[in-house]
Amino acid sequence: MPSKSSRRNLSEACNSLRIVCESPANLATLKDAVAQLEELTDPMPIVVLKGIPKLKGDIDEIAGSFVTLRLANANKRDERAIDSFAIREFERRVIEGSSRARGVPYEGVGLMKLYHRLLLGSSSSVIVTDRLVMTWSDDDLRYHARVAVFGFPSVISMSGLVEAPARPKEYYLAKQAIDPKGRGISEASLAEEFSGRFLESDDERTPTVLKGYLLQCLFYANTLEPFCKKKDCMLYNAHWQEEMLHAQVESGKLCRKHAVILKKIILEGSNPVLF
């Protein structure tokens, strides 16, 4: 885990929020989300950085580090994907911004540590990535996709917004009924039938939903607690798409308690709990 001194280094700018946008393709969506977030956090400055600033180290070595975090099997702990020239070359293109790693699964905690190393000294507390972030669960002994992994920095996965929270139960039942193997073109027709009940790629609600997760990262950086138990609060830890859309789009508000804490974060600047 990151050392206390480096953690302080990354989070010292808690009265501001520095967000790194790893893929240039997500920049417009992120800027929309930040514009919405600024309405809640004014006058706290929010800075969006395009790409990892001043990439430290050899690009091939960094590409290799990403390769070691790619998961091959969601049901086997630490079973990593093939390490080959082709994969390294792809990772290099992702770092350079000419390819996107949408939907490619990575081990989330390791990914967060790698970003910590790459962003050290940049005072950035959030990185937004295309990569699909997974973490292992001892409850059911498999990896789960996540929207965010909280740390220094916190990692928000754009693929995770679509893939991580579960779609409605009826969706999976209908999918099973149409195609017993759960694959193929029926996916598209189902998406139409259940349209609006879950986030899709390039969904116009994405910036609004992303705003809520940025807020969760801001809370984590300042209080180490990103979540709220109230379903109407934007800090609600949604496991279902409908819960996520309710908290972030239909409600779109913080509960009273967290609204007060947010004011404190904005006005007092420094971390009210740790520092």
């Binding site: 994907a81 093939i82 080959s84 020239f85 082709a86 994969i87 070359e89 792809f90 293109r93 390819s99 996107r100 790693a101 949408r102 939907g103 193997k181 694959r183 193929g184 073109i185 996916e187 598209a188 790629s201």
Partner: protein, 263 residues
Amino acid sequence: MVIFEKASESAVTKAIVSQFSRDMEDFANMDVIIIGGGPSGLMAARDLALKGVKVLVVERNNYLGGGFWIGGFLMNTITVRAPAQKVLDELDIKYNAFSKSLYCTPGPLACSKLIAAACEAGVKMLNMAQFDDLVMREKNRVVGVVINWTPVSALPRQITCVDPVAFESKLVIDATGHDAMVVRKLEERGLIKVPGFGAMWVEQSEDAVVEHSGLCHPGLIVIGMAVSTTFGLPRMGPTFGAMLLSGRKGAQVALQELKKKSK
């Protein structure tokens, strides 16, 4: 009164042989050799040729175009998802909108136009010739291909002692579809691990194929459906936008690589 001017049988034969011989001499040293004349290969070839790159497409069938003549399930309607219709615009291929993001065009129209566009751009074509092996140099860098006539592989082994020939090139592009024949040849030598393609998932696979198209081994670029096989991505469904855009991405990567080499 005859319609045609005179030309003897021997003159016709000599014309064929001498022209083909000149072409083959050219083929022996190319900038880029593309194995597979399907939509991704033709698209990459056309884009490269328009930039002045010497490109050869090697196609094992008599006809070029691969699966682009037929949309899926023997029905010759080609579909592309947005934004690939912009490529159809560019190639002057007429289409109609099935929905706001899905477009249809007749396979024969789209395929013939793409072939014509590649030929007109200056791409050289060698059909009825099959990829047999790679030419490699230091550090296993790919520097060319070994090919033979397709019929040779169809004949009984006892009468097919026909040695192949080799062409050299600065880059080779594998556009052989899900077979990924060129990449598989590297795998046979233990130089690459190929996970094979996954189950069909149209929405995911098209994006993933385009994003992963690029250099997969020193001197070798992979495009089209071969990308799914090389990276273990979901297999492609009967929609062609990714083939066109993957070809385009492969051409961009090839141009960058050629630029690096010229320095």
